[in-house]
Symmetry: C2
């Protein structure tokens, strides 16, 4: 008979994260860009005190454990306080992506049954448009002081955050409850059907955040200053707002200013050492830095995820700017990071190109997450770096079922990611495609991601996308879309010749379409479904 | 009503630690000193395979979940395999300190009801002496091949480890069970009464090991090679045998050779970057290095705990050898690390002396552990760096009650450590004394540890100990014991004059006794109880 251990049984709760920071790193800084412009700065100790004030304020509004509080907000300190006040009180922090279509926003606010919605002034017009359709929302709270809280025509119940919390006490005893309690809710922006919600537990977030601090993941400590550009409405900014206080790292929140110049200036003025974001943001940042002949004085590492980082961009960061790139993978259903690519010690003597090739992959699963790839019958494929199949994940911060979902999507206890991947003998995973984007031609698969990465390596290409188009003989054939860089010329023949030197002959697209821009969805990803709708006919 | 999160509910089990290493860091090395001399090396992948063989072998011996397996062994690869095979099977790994008195060893083996005991050939004479008194032990397994397994007179049931596992399969499906299940058992060597056992749960060890990998604690990653000198029979070598596989760090196990020369040579030949051990081991290592004019080529960080590290030793490591010292605190009842001292970013411009003064303290509590100091009435004392009281701890890897203990030692849910400490405004904790060692004089407290640290700073002093002796007027007064370095002369007057310049006048000991050696107990700590017995009369 198993013997029970004799240790204290304390729950892993988010309230303990911010109180740990307040107690042990009380004077470490949080710097935040206000929505109206200026920088705000305070300490974890002050952040915890204001989170407790907000917890009192929410209780004062009549909210209780289990109630949902929505947010339509940038990365800023009030949003951070809400992360802790809401979840710490046993309520559910529901972060909404403001880039969703208003109809989808209305859907998720009602589906989550948000009682209060916190918003940044930027999104006042959005609130104006949706408030009447969200009858459960008693109060709309603008994350600002009274002076910076706009009146919203037709919306009576708007409060200024600072006025809401001002009369409240800094004393609040965080409730203790089961660590499996829901803490945060994030909806995936499905390209078809309604968005689906992942309800993260306290336990999942705390374990993920601890993992995020590890040297092999983000490597956070009091010596680091981290700037999460990845939004707090997107998978909790990869849990960095929870990881930084665990580690005592200085946290810099960029507010609404996400253009290359603003980010660069913030990195320099706050001596940011580590940053995290999606490839498109880094493309804009490097564009600014290149154009003005700048260097990074302190930033030496960046974590990239959300979509595959082209090897050319990795090369620029590393070789030109001396910034280490860590290329990870995760999704809404995996709380945050599931795998992270870093160089192993043996890479010391590798060429730059070898290093970049490795970092173009999404890396090894972090402790707490297991990965495998399976064929269409569910058989586990060998870890040989070439056998492609659907990536399956299992672990402490992987979703089991969607919020109010009718059935669990799990297969034998594993979550099917919808990503096509390979895993090599050393455990390094590489995303080859989305199951729905992979191009099946003559019984073989072509990775749309690999083709796109090859295309953006051309100096005249700003963006590229590949879809499969029906073909009478080959089942499907690739069609390439290219957005040229400003002022650049590039012909179909030139880009195809460029690709022919870099990919297998049968991978070379059958046609190329030049566009001024690619359709981009709520989370900044290219919407291939739109391309398919418009261009997905049949090759003759 | 709280909402349940919708994440996978997977247990935190030790089997997943070694399987993670096998899957994701399969070719990272484990290097181990055999008890009979040579170095052995293999990978985490091979380690996991052999752990599965041992799990099959233990099942073959008739053992079941909940059964206890003892070990009397050095830090080596077979001991590591047993860590995972035993706990992974749902059994309890009971590590025995071979330095305990044989009577105490017999007591703990019987108290734990060990069914099998693993031992290193070094300890064959010990086994010979105790086996007849341990009737529950069915099999004694020597951690060696047949050639290196000695026959033990009078002990029939001795097996060689390699013969035991040779016929067993590498396939074993680790059972899944509640993460609160007991995984490992370690007894404190109480100076009075029988030893008491702390039964660590899988959850406690996994969380502690994850915490140990953090940049602010041991900072483990595939880039590091860690040598735990702290024994695997002493609080699971501070959980490093669990932390290294989580991080994918190379693990170097020194076997029985713990002298300065052997450790130095192993550090150099295996390119060790991080080490961990008690101050006395480091004193011997530095003695060797100094005597031979050597340098550390790769070792750049060492974690120290178990007893307070004198500032003079910290200074030598840092200033002379460029090795970063991290000074931590923990005890058998806290699974491993509870606090860790590192320099904060603001220390950049500090003098060496300021840095060393900070590192002489035991540092901040790591995430997952809360600390406070209380007065004799249990009131929490201010975090002002001067208010001394008993250190109380609470957290995910803190013990709730002793194994087969009659009552929980907890006070309001906190574990009373028996250490006297201060905590400053930044959360930095400093051990001032043991509650039983602190010297109460004229209504004030004198820290025996501070006095000892001041004494060993004298160049002629090898070791020092201070006890309180009854005094008719002052209640207690300090009495100093000094062991001189070989060939050094030092008079009572000289050491007292030296101390008078460094401590408050009323702290200067009333008398000094020179000894050839101090009495040392099973875990390498000075036994002040012996000194008290022999010298603790009354000052006149």
């Amino acid at each position: 008979m198993l013997q029970p251990g004799l240790m204290m049984d304390r729950p892993l709760l988010l309230s303990s994260v911010i109180e740990h920071a307040a107690a042990q790193y009380g004077d470490a800084e949080v710097v935040s860009r206000e929505t109206h412009g200026p920088l705000f700065r305070y300490t974890y100790s002050e952040c915890a005190a204001r989170a407790r004030k907000l917890a009192n304020a929410l209780a004062g509004l009549g909210l209780q454990g289990g109630d949902a509080v929505g947010s339509i907000a940038w990365n800023n300190h009030r949003h951070l306080e809400a992360y802790y006040a809401v979840s710490g009180s046993g309520m559910v922090m529901h972060t909404c992506n403001p880039r969703l279509h208003p109809q989808q926003l209305i859907y998720i606010i009602n589906h989550a049954e948000d009682r209060v919605v916190l918003f940044d002034a930027t999104f006042a017009p959005l609130v104006k448009g949706i408030a009447a359709h969200c009858p459960n929302v008693r109060t709309w709270v603008c994350l600002a002081d009274a002076a910076n809280t706009p009146a919203i025509e037709g919306v009576a119940n708007v409060l200024a955050y600072e006025e809401l919390i001002a009369p409240c006490s800094e004393d609040f005893t965080w409730p203790e409850f089961d660590e499996h309690t829901g803490a945060a809710l994030c909806y995936t922006s499905g390209t078809t059907g309604n968005p689906k919600g992942a309800l993260y537990s306290h336990r999942a977030i705390v374990l993920n955040a601890m993992s995020g601090c590890l040297p092999g993941v983000l490597s956070l400590s009091p010596a680091e200053t981290i700037l999460p550009v990845v939004p707090m409405f997107h998978i909790n900014a990869w849990c960095i707002p929870y990881a930084a206080p665990i580690a005592g790292a200085k946290l810099v929140l960029p507010g609404p200013r996400l253009d290359g110049q603003s980010l660069y200036e913030l990195m320099e003025s706050e001596a940011v050492t580590v940053s995290a974001g999606v490839p498109t943001i880094w493309q804009a940042l490097l564009g600014h830095v290149e154009q003005h002949g700048l260097r990074f004085s302190t930033m030496y590492r960046t974590a990239v995820g959300g979509s595959a980082m082209p090897q050319a961009l990795i090369a620029k960061f590393m070789d030109t700017y001396g910034v280490e790139v860590r290329h990870g993978w995760g999704m809404t259903e995996t709380t945050a990071v599931g795998t992270m690519g870093t160089l192993m010690p043996k890479a010391k003597n590798w060429t730059s190109e070898q290093k970049q090739a490795l970092l173009a992959k999404q890396g090894k699963s972090t402790f707490g997450v297991e990965i495998k790839v399976v064929d269409e019958q569910g058989n586990t494929l060998p870890r040989d770096g070439t056998s492609q199949g659907e990536l399956m994940v299992r672990g402490h911060w992987i979703m089991a079922s969607y919020y109010k979902g009718e059935r669990s999507p799990l297969v034998d206890g594993w979550f099917p990611t919808g990503d096509i991947a390979t895993i090599d003998a050393e455990g390094v995973m590489q995303i080859r495609d989305r199951t729905k984007d992979v191009i099946k031609t003559g019984g073989e698969w072509i990775s749309s991601i690999d083709l796109e990465s090859a295309a953006v390596a051309h100096p005249a290409v700003a963006m590229a996308a590949v879809i499969g188009v029906k073909h009478p003989k080959w089942d499907e054939r690739p069609l390439l879309f290219v957005v040229r860089k400003p002022g650049q010329t590039l012909s179909k023949e030139e880009i195809l010749a460029f690709l022919a030197e870099r990919v297998a002959k049968w991978w070379v697209p059958d046609d190329v379409i030049f566009l001024d821009a690619l359709p981009v969805g709520g989370t900044g990803k290219v919407q291939k479904s739109d391309l398919r709708k418009q261009y997905g006919g049949v090759f003759s």
